[in-house]
C-alpha cells in the first residue's frame, strides 16, 4: 500500500511553462515533506522541503504548496527550463523512534521533460 501517492507519472512541459507535481498522504503522523530531484545516472538530491505548519515555501523557481486539511502537497516549477528535466520524488517523514532516526516514505516519482 502506497503511503504517499504521487501524480502524474510523467509530465511534458514547454520551456517557460509551469510544472506541477502532486502528492497525497494518509498518515497524519508525517511531520516533514521533502522533494528530491534525480538526474539520469545520479542519486536523488534534496531540492526543497516543508513542514506542515507552513502552507507554502518558495526557493527560487521552486515552490511547495501544502494543504494540511486535504493531506496534499505539490511542487510547482515556475519558468521551467530544459535543465529541470529529471525525475522528482515527493517524500514524507515518519519518526521511527525518539532519537535520531527518521524514515522517509517516497512517492513513485514523476519524470519531467521540459521541451525547448
Amino acid at each position: 500500500q502506497q503511503q504517499v501517492k504521487q501524480s502524474p507519472q510523467s509530465l511534458i512541459v514547454q520551456k517557460g511553462g509551469i510544472s506541477i507535481i502532486n502528492c497525497a498522504y494518509e498518515n497524519t503522523a508525517f511531520d516533514y515533506f521533502p522533494w528530491y530531484q534525480q538526474f539520469p545516472g545520479k542519486g536523488p538530491a534534496l531540492l526543497i522541503a516543508i513542514r506542515p505548519d507552513v502552507s507554502e515555501k518558495k526557493e527560487g523557481r521552486f515552490t511547495i504548496s501544502f494543504n494540511k486539511s486535504a493531506k496534499q502537497f505539490s511542487l510547482h516549477i515556475m519558468d521551467s527550463q530544459p535543465g529541470d528535466s529529471a525525475t522528482y520524488f515527493c517524500a514524507a517523514r515518519k519518526r521511527v523512534f525518539s532519537g535520531g532516526y527518521n524514515k522517509l516514505i517516497f512517492g513513485a516519482g514523476t519524470r519531467l521533460a521540459v521541451h525547448p
Binding site: Y32, P34, G41, G43, L46, A49, G100, Y101, K103, L104
Partner: protein, 114 residues
C-alpha cells in the same frame, strides 16, 4: 561536499550467487540506508542502520541482509540472488536528529541478475 560512493555502477550476477554491494560515506553520518528503485514504485527502504553494528529492517528486507562494521561503510548482501532482485540500488546517509533531515544519496548500482 558530502560524498556517498558505491562500489559498482553496474553489476551482472547469476541466479543463486551471493552479491555484496558496498557503500562508503565521508561525512561521519550516523544513519545509513539502502533503497531499491524500480519504475513506478519509487524508492523503497530495504534496511537502515543508525550506528555501527546496529540495523533495522525497512519495508522490503526479504532476501537481503546488511553489515555495518565501521561507521563510514554499509554493505548490502544478497544471500542468493534472484531475478526479481534486478533493480537499481541506492545507498544514502544522514545525520541524526529532527532538524537534520537531508539524506545524501550515492549514484546507485544497477544490478542485473540473470
Amino acid at each position: 561536499d558530502v560524498k556517498v560512493t558505491q562500489s559498482s555502477r553496474y553489476l551482472v550476477k547469476r541466479t543463486g550467487e551471493k552479491v555484496f554491494l558496498e557503500c562508503v560515506q565521508d561525512m561521519d553520518h550516523e544513519n545509513m540506508f539502502w533503497y531499491r528503485q524500480d519504475p513506478g514504485l519509487g524508492l523503497r527502504l530495504i534496511y537502515f542502520s543508525y550506528d555501527v553494528k546496529m540495523k533495522e529492517k525497512g519495508d522490503i528486507p526479504e532476501g537481503y541482509s546488511v553489515s555495518r562494521e565501521k561507521k563510514e561503510r554499509f554493505s548490502l548482501i544478497l544471500e542468493s540472488a534472484s531475478t526479481n532482485q534486478t533493480s537499481m540500488y541506492l545507498c544514502a546517509s544522514s545525520l541524526p536528529g529532527q532538524g537534520r533531515n537531508e539524506q545524501f544519496f550515492g549514484p546507485g548500482t544497477r544490478l542485473t541478475v540473470l
